[in-house]
Subunit: 208 residues, 2 copies
């Protein structure tokens, strides 16, 4: 074998081409292993914005593909007017459900909140088991789990047995470790800068 | 003034109520300062998923409110079929533009990519200056800036002068510090877990 220092320009070019060819082949080999399709457990957590927005974005994408979806709202904040208006244009492809008013920051009535969380979880199970659904969004479930309104072990046990093809997205800050453990895709939205700090209020289109 | 240790139960309760009242008043005073409405410069960056998805989610929200929006695609990946299908149902409220094929990972033709980036930036400026637009999404602009296909100082100088009411969202990993500096709202999407690592390929609804 000739040493690199002794090579002609042509030999160097050929060596480079050979190296690149190998690199490309290795890359293609890796890509070829990414063949599985499966329903994912997706978690959006962190203190930053975009957790629910990105989840709703995936619901919109799925609707765009003609897939059936369900959104279960565990916390009803009244921040959903913009998305809701559009989602309601696709009643055959998107069902939105909330248990009563759902958990709110206003009630401070723990027993009522637990009842609502249980009701929403029953709806969630039904939606996930529905073979017609491709994607189910459990919006702000993490909040409910954080307050221990539902036992996380129940949720984890159920999700482990979910239909193979169904994607389940769970949003909310402070995702429990047990949930992250079983998730396939976890993204943490981190807040770097927020306009609230400079006196700007929540605005249509951005926050709701 | 009576010391706390010498107070009766009634006095302690009254003291507590007084403290809480002050706390509430202080909180309301803070909230009252959050009154500004202004067009924000929003940046979604980081290696995790959800940067574009959350941005498109805000576009959907704005459409839901009946606002006019424009999306400029700086990198055309063909990953946008799901969103695009729905956005195309609202041609009066959402304009989608890309410069030719836009920058792609495939061409490896730097001069062509720079030309396309410049063309897209011209479209972006026009969209931002259009007083009818409420929100303009510069999708994957950060990629173009990272490769120095456009000088970041041009973008920053322009955005500093943008119409006050218009929201501008910029997505893509590796956001430049100069951009973060002038942004109002910056979220970093951090990848905690990704299914690609366990052999799962990109799937409709989730990735595109």
């Amino acid at each position: 074998m000739i040493k690199k220092a002794d090579m002609t320009q042509d030999q160097l070019d050929a060596r480079h081409a050979e190296k690149m060819k190998k690199k490309k082949a290795a890359r293609e080999k890796i890509l070829a292993t990414k063949t599985k399709e499966k329903g994912l457990i997706i978690v959006h957590t962190g203190k930053g914005k975009g957790k629910s927005t990105a989840a709703f974005g995936m619901i919109f994408r799925s609707i765009g593909h003609g897939f059936k979806t369900t959104v279960i709202q565990f916390v009803k904040g009244g921040w959903d007017t913009g998305e809701r208006t559009i989602l309601e244009n696709y009643p055959d492809l998107c069902t939105i459900k909330a248990a009563g008013e759902g958990f709110t920051w206003e009630t401070q009535d723990r027993q009522r909140d637990i009842e609502m969380a249980k009701l929403a979880w029953e709806m969630a199970k039904e939606a996930i088991m529905d073979p017609e659904n491709t994607m189910v969004l459990l919006d702000e479930l993490n909040i409910v789990l954080r307050y221990d309104y539902l036992p996380v072990s129940d949720i984890v046990d159920f999700l482990k047995q979910k239909p193979e093809d169904t994607h389940v997205i769970i949003t909310g800050r402070n995702a429990k470790d047990e949930l992250i453990e079983i998730a396939d895709l976890v993204t943490e939205m981190e807040q770097i800068k927020h306009p609230f700090r400079s006196g700007v209020k929540a605005q249509a289109g951005v926050e709701f």
